[in-house]
Symmetry: C5
């Protein structure tokens, strides 16, 4: 698949952008994003507790998995990358530029997740370190009273990434007291359109469900509304590999999604299993593997 | 018609500004603005649902129509332009620099629609891409507790546009708990005057109505109060072509408006019909067509 | 009268400042300021309605009057000046740098009227356009919870104006829930002192009244408290020429004011009468005319 | 006394800083600060009314006194200095960089007194004008919800002053709903410590009182807690010269204060008396005069 | 121990960073941080009162101790360092870049402790003064409505420190109405992870306790969750040397902490004793001393 080259990528960065996009998507136009930003978003809930292997409590677990597995990009905060990347310098990184904790409930106060560092900091870091930093990411909470600040930061980040030949991924989640159902297809389709208007290369969204089941028609509304911005489906809570990979396959082949952003379903497993699960997800997302093929990869056959 | 050249257009950009103004208005001094910024403003409500053709859900529909039809400018967000413009590089664009979603009701919290990108970003983008970017746009919500921030951004945007030979369009809507009737002629005339004080080339306003009927006297108060800033009447909800074109003709020829900003009445139609509707609107606005001539264009006769 | 040259006017701008001050005040040290900033402040209330001539609804009326009459400066927003000044390039302008609408009552929310453009924008505009821009203006609402932001902007504007050889006029009005009587002499004297502390060349204030009558003693407290900053008395609602000119004469010769800021009492009249009224006000303010002489000017004798 | 040279005074400004400190303190290390910033802080209350001589209403009174009397520095706003300093160019000035009015009660809203101008503006003004500007000042209201903004501005101002060889004086007052007793010694000692942590050369504080009497032990806690930052005792309401000078002497010689900041007790007197009162205060503060000697100076013997 | 060199330390500063890290940790990788920032945080409560020696009221006491004792770094505000450092120029300093007072209870208003000075100010100060400034520090209050502002400032500070070869220490404390138990291990582990995501070299945290006893298992969750960022245990209220040193030893050798931040347990003692206590803490932290050896140091044997 040939990527749509955004018009705000300047001539001198066209090749860089195309190469970056191709590398991130394995030439498929679809992105397997290994999400490792939950140290802030969920504090230690995702990393220590019942059903979570002890090794997940050490942040290095994320880097070990990201380094050993097939992934599109490993998305995490700048500071964490800086602390481990000299020892894990082959990982394709995506710098997540904002984050917030879960201490304040969304019902109590509207969320604002502010940008931590500038795209220019990432560009300089990439040049200084020689690391394989493919892109930047940012979360927007629509419906928050701070929506305006996040829309502005998101628009700037996407444009500045393109100006420097990098890809931009936006996480777009409606939140706050005026949002009734986060899994409503029409609302998610609206978020997809906002991602398109912001110029995102990929937009990570909630998945539309009806009664707990994937709403394929709804997902088609969403992925069409996103236009040329690829929709990444949120991985969500840990579930069985069978259920996960089956739904992932349907999201892509029936719903038109262009990838996924998965964290807990990978890292909340022991190292070897986590790597195999990541590989299975990558195979479905990028290599057009069937669910059966993917399950064989997961099983290590 | 000769445009009034704003005094803050510097000598080296005078010709550019005049040419731009003439191109945008087809030499008529009147602007047909095809509004395509609703992906953020109305989320997916305007693009998917009962009575809306399925093709409208794909944002490319807007570009197809804007590319094939007679229009003055196509107004939408920077990111969306960046994503499609390499394939639609003949469209006259106007970059809408702010946008907000409709998730928070105006009664619940006063709106603030913040500027996403700077005029200098648009100027650089125009130079890098060679696209036909004729101007910039911005929405001001008067009566909001954030009015001050939007007035400042609007004033800066208009001046910076002029400094670079581009035209500036302001959407000015009184909103918030102290606004009783958005369609009150005297209030709209006030908004028109604010547009003039901000130096806008065109100001997009609500239309004064009495009992659902166009208030022609009221519109004359409005268009006079706007002075040399041309008043663009809001297109509003989708209606019949007959009703739409008749009112448009009266707005211009009886009410003194200098154009219109129309979105849903164009894009909520299948491609061919949308193009014909846009052409009909353009004919009335720019080519002095009669309602009958315009309806013939719409009918494809 | 020799102006007191502020110490923050640098040596290379001393002559410019002195010439500007002399031109604005006709060599008298007193300023007749024609206020034309109400398009934003009062929306269309001052320009259309019972008792207002229809021609006042067109903003060009202000420029016609300002161009034909004797005035010190014509104060209005940057954008409006930019739109008309190529055709009215002999008017001595003062750029009013902030403005707000009247949609939110002062009791409901504390006012913040933010600066729209920078003094450096005005300086560049003046150089590019060759217009006779003599100074800048700004309104401060004391007692608002946003007082701190306006005090800062005001202090910067005055200093930056002086750094560039221009005069600075501040409108200072106590507002908000803690202000009981806007016409209290002691409160107005406080506002006068704030203007002095901000370094204003002229400070436009409310007029102290007792029972609807000019409080001459009170005005002396005010004008003394202002020190070397000249006090401009607010023109207020439209009244009869006789009453207006008599009070103006008393303000200056009994109360120590150094001019006035008048809008509605001028522009809410047909062109010829408006010009004559402005000339009468100018004669009293700058030329030491008696009330009788001024009334003869108003009458066109 | 040799001043402690702050380590953030760069080598090229060491002599300037030492000379400035010595000049401001008459070589004593103690500062007599003539406070003339009340035009904003107290509006016209301190300058006009019962028991205040009429001449105090004219701000020039402050400059006349500051010019004729022995003082360490005359502290007032930039704008006021700019307006009078060409005629009063021998006064040692200290530019007070923030100010607020008293219109909003502290109980109603937490105070924020924002910085008006930058230290770099003062440095440029000093160079352009050749005036004897020895330092800058700033007020911090601890306990306000805006405390963070004022702490940041204060820290920057002190450091920037030192970078340019000027002294910095901080006014530090706990205010707001959580402050029970402004004259509590332990609270004032805390404010003193904040001044030390901010790097102030002098910190102006409330005076600890017990039952209306100077709390000498308490003042020793305060002046010790301030470390090398000299404590200036607030002058407060006007009182008798005897009471004032006696307490001043005790503050210094029993309580360890390093000066005072006095306004009303000087300027609320006729010119000659005001000068003699200032001279008496200066004699106690800087020249180690006894109370008797100081009273003779006040009496003009 | 070899420090993990953060990847955002540029090549030209690698040696500086390594040397700095080694110096601060005595080559052990563990940091003994002498905390002297309470002049602002606790006002005068920690320095004057029952059980506190009088000499502690003078801020110079901190510098005397820091100068005479074995310490890793002495952490305090810029202004205080500037005022004493010419006389105490052998101390290894860490500049604490933000601070707030305790006047507003956390339950009443969410805390915001804003950055006072920029890292670039510290870098310039270090170069100008030649002082041994090893790093910078900053406090983040998670769960505050201002969390976003502090996360941004913290991320910037850590990166800018690394860009200049300095170490960065973050104090991370969950606070506000949604935080139930500050000593909950899982919550502290979350704070540790935030420190890792921000890229801190060391993160100072609350200590997990169960029923007043050190929760060793909990501390292991915390120190593992922090990854390569070293955990510093908060020193807390003054206690007996025996209890303090025993717990410190267990924190390090059983809990995996990499140091401590101690203020009151050092400075709230007379000079000689304070120095011996600091030396004892240093011996345990950096020199692998046993509790018995440390107590002998404290006793001066």
């Amino acid at each position: 698949m040939t990527p749509y080259l955004p018009a705000d990528v300047p001539a001198e960065y066209e090749k860089t952008f195309m190469d970056t996009f191709m590398e991130a998507t394995g030439g498929s136009g679809r992105l397997m994003l290994f999400a490792g930003d939950q140290k802030v978003e969920h504090l230690n809930n995702d990393f220590f507790g019942e059903g979570i292997p002890l090794e997940d409590n050490d942040p290095e677990h994320l880097f070990k998995v990201a380094s050993a597995a097939d992934i599109g990009v490993f998305a995490t905060q700048f500071g964490l990358i800086a602390r481990y990347a000299r020892d894990y310098n082959t990982i394709p990184y995506l710098v997540k530029l904002n984050a917030k904790t879960n201490l304040i409930p969304y019902e109590a106060k509207d969320p604002y997740s502010q940008q931590w560092l500038e795209v220019s900091d990432v560009v300089r870091f990439k040049a200084q370190s020689g690391l394989k930093i493919l892109g930047v990411g940012y979360t927007v909470y629509l419906g928050s009273e701070h929506e305006h600040a996040m829309l502005r930061e998101a628009a700037r980040i996407v444009h500045e990434a393109h100006q420097n030949g990098m890809i931009a991924v936006l996480w777009i989640y409606p939140k706050g007291n005026f949002v009734k159902d986060q899994h409503d297809r029409h609302l998610i389709a609206g978020a997809a359109g906002v991602g398109a208007a912001l110029g995102a290369d990929f937009v990570k969204l909630k998945v539309p469900y009806i009664g707990g089941e994937l709403d394929v028609d709804g997902l088609n509304e969403v992925t069409t509304a996103a236009g040329r911005s690829g929709v990444l489906c949120e991985g969500g809570n840990k579930t069985t590999p069978e259920a996960f990979l089956l739904e992932l396959h349907r999201q892509i082949h029936e719903g038109g999604s262009r990838g996924n952003g998965t964290g807990r379903n990978i890292h909340q497993r022991p190292f070897e299993e986590a790597v195999r699960m990541a590989n299975a997800i990558y195979a479905v997302t990028v290599k057009n593997a069937s669910v059966e093929e993917a399950l064989r990869i997961y099983s290590g056959e």
